[in-house]
Symmetry: C2
Subunit: 343 residues, 2 copies
Amino acid sequence: MDMVTLQDIARAAGVSVATASWAINDDPKARIPQATRDRVRRVASELGYRRNALARGLARGHSDLIGFISDGVATSPFAGQVIRGAQDEAWRQGKILLIVDTGGDRKIEERAFEFMLERRVEGLVYSSWVHRRVDAPVGLAGVNAVLVNCYDRLGRLPAVVPDEVGGGLSATRLLLQAGHRRIAFINASARTPASVGRLKGYRQALSEAGVAYDPSLVIREKEADQESGYRAMREVMATGATAVFCHNDRTAMGFYDALRECGQRVPDDISVVGFDNQEVISAHLHPALTTVGLPQYDLGRLGIRALMARGDDSTNHPAAGSGGLEPQLVPCPLVVRDSIARI
Amino acid sequence: MDMVTLQDIARAAGVSVATASWAINDDPKARIPQATRDRVRRVASELGYRRNALARGLARGHSDLIGFISDGVATSPFAGQVIRGAQDEAWRQGKILLIVDTGGDRKIEERAFEFMLERRVEGLVYSSWVHRRVDAPVGLAGVNAVLVNCYDRLGRLPAVVPDEVGGGLSATRLLLQAGHRRIAFINASARTPASVGRLKGYRQALSEAGVAYDPSLVIREKEADQESGYRAMREVMATGATAVFCHNDRTAMGFYDALRECGQRVPDDISVVGFDNQEVISAHLHPALTTVGLPQYDLGRLGIRALMARGDDSTNHPAAGSGGLEPQLVPCPLVVRDSIARI
DNA sequence: GTGAAAGCGCTAACAG
DNA sequence: CTGTTAGCGCTTTCAC
């Protein structure tokens, strides 16, 4: 155990603790000669001194800790970049993340919350694995908090979410630009921000291009996974579509499978575009899948940024009057690969 | 800002801070009447009191924090369960994880290390995304630390890793039990714990079953990804193998692809078993892939357990004399699905 | 320029 | 049974 304290340093360097503190932290507004500064620091490193963040935090009144609660981001197959983005941004501001993955368990969430507050986190990010509406835990109000990849029912907390509409728009536009006019859409039937938003984008792109919206081209599948895509294939092909926009890459993967079993090929027989850019899938399908990425890293980064901005803003208002904070939309990047043919 | 302190509680409840402290923490060895306890706690909750972990940690001399440094676990597509396991176990012991994902960057690692030590973490887990040998960062020695999913060159730090040999053994045995005798193995050519271990297990199973080892059945691919499996298909089929053990699920996925393009089918034309149980792939291939799982959750859990055990053990010896701690092997569970046919 | 000293909020002897 | 008090290690105001 290295229990070298500032006192030890001060004594060894022949200065007072105050001076030692200033030297160690290189406090610019302490006017001590460079020589002293250097001497203290040298002594410190010789003795293997290390600041005690507990004591420091207690004295200064801040912890430099930011809480990050997720319902599965840390352990989900592909949302981890959110954490990376958050961490990088926090880091940049000299803060460190206290991460707890609740797995969606309210009990754990409650406890995590308690833990973080006890540790005097300077802000709290509450994030969801999948973009959705959440019931923000009671208590999140009254704390500097922001929602990431989810939004509150009442819009009382600032939120940072992917621009699903924009994503659907770019995916469909791409198909349109390649000359497609009959574009099927395998969508999830549950009303999620993703299914609603992407459909909206799809319709918007169609309308922009002067293509009439044909509801029969929209296949609704309960889940949006490999099975759905596999199952939906026949229906899609029956519509005579020359291209299909899949709700996500997993759906596209299933679609590829089914298609291949019928001896048909992407993109010759039909063009495909996915969503999510789940690399294990999209980058390795044959042919590689053109898709729309989720801006995970940016979600994390902007979440922290929003948090810190709010923190500075001492007015820290829990959302103006009406209670309708609009979520901040983060664009979804198009990832072009080989699954679209011009016609 | 809730800045209700113990003092406030004590005053409001008409007791001393000491008594308040005991009541709040429900200290069993403080002999105060239940009535007082209750009163204090009630006052505390009424006033919205919350312990200050910084002050508490400083006074008690421990932080209840455990550092978790990873080179990508948090952000990797499928290793996140390690964190979940670690977190659950830490939690069970009343500790909380301070996680930093370095992305393999030494600079960040260094800083993370510093950060954690300043925060007086009670132990440090150093984990790798992929099972490998690491150069444990200088400074890890002298701290209560354990390696997870990686091991030190010199075996000076306790390590917890998956049992690759056992995994290769069960995969191959399963094929053998289904009656296969000519079993190909698409392996990665780099000498990693995975490639070496799985091959060893494969050979061991063969030998157990009295099947001669035929080197020509082992296909070595530089990487072990979808492309490898895709590419290796021809070679595998040319050997006349009736089954193939793929180094991982991604390889199996590529193999499936290539096979289907030739109009052949799993498992009728050839049985396949993978490794990793990367669900996005294995559970959704057609037919679903029989594979060997990585014990991610357990790695995390056991890592923390080892750490805490070491911590208790005040003798905390940096590995006995010779310097050869054997890594703790965690079994890899077989996940049986539909890609094996009896012959 | 530098030091003394008063906290930060809590715990844990030690008294009573 | 309960209160007093001396720290825990550091920051920061205020004197010198």
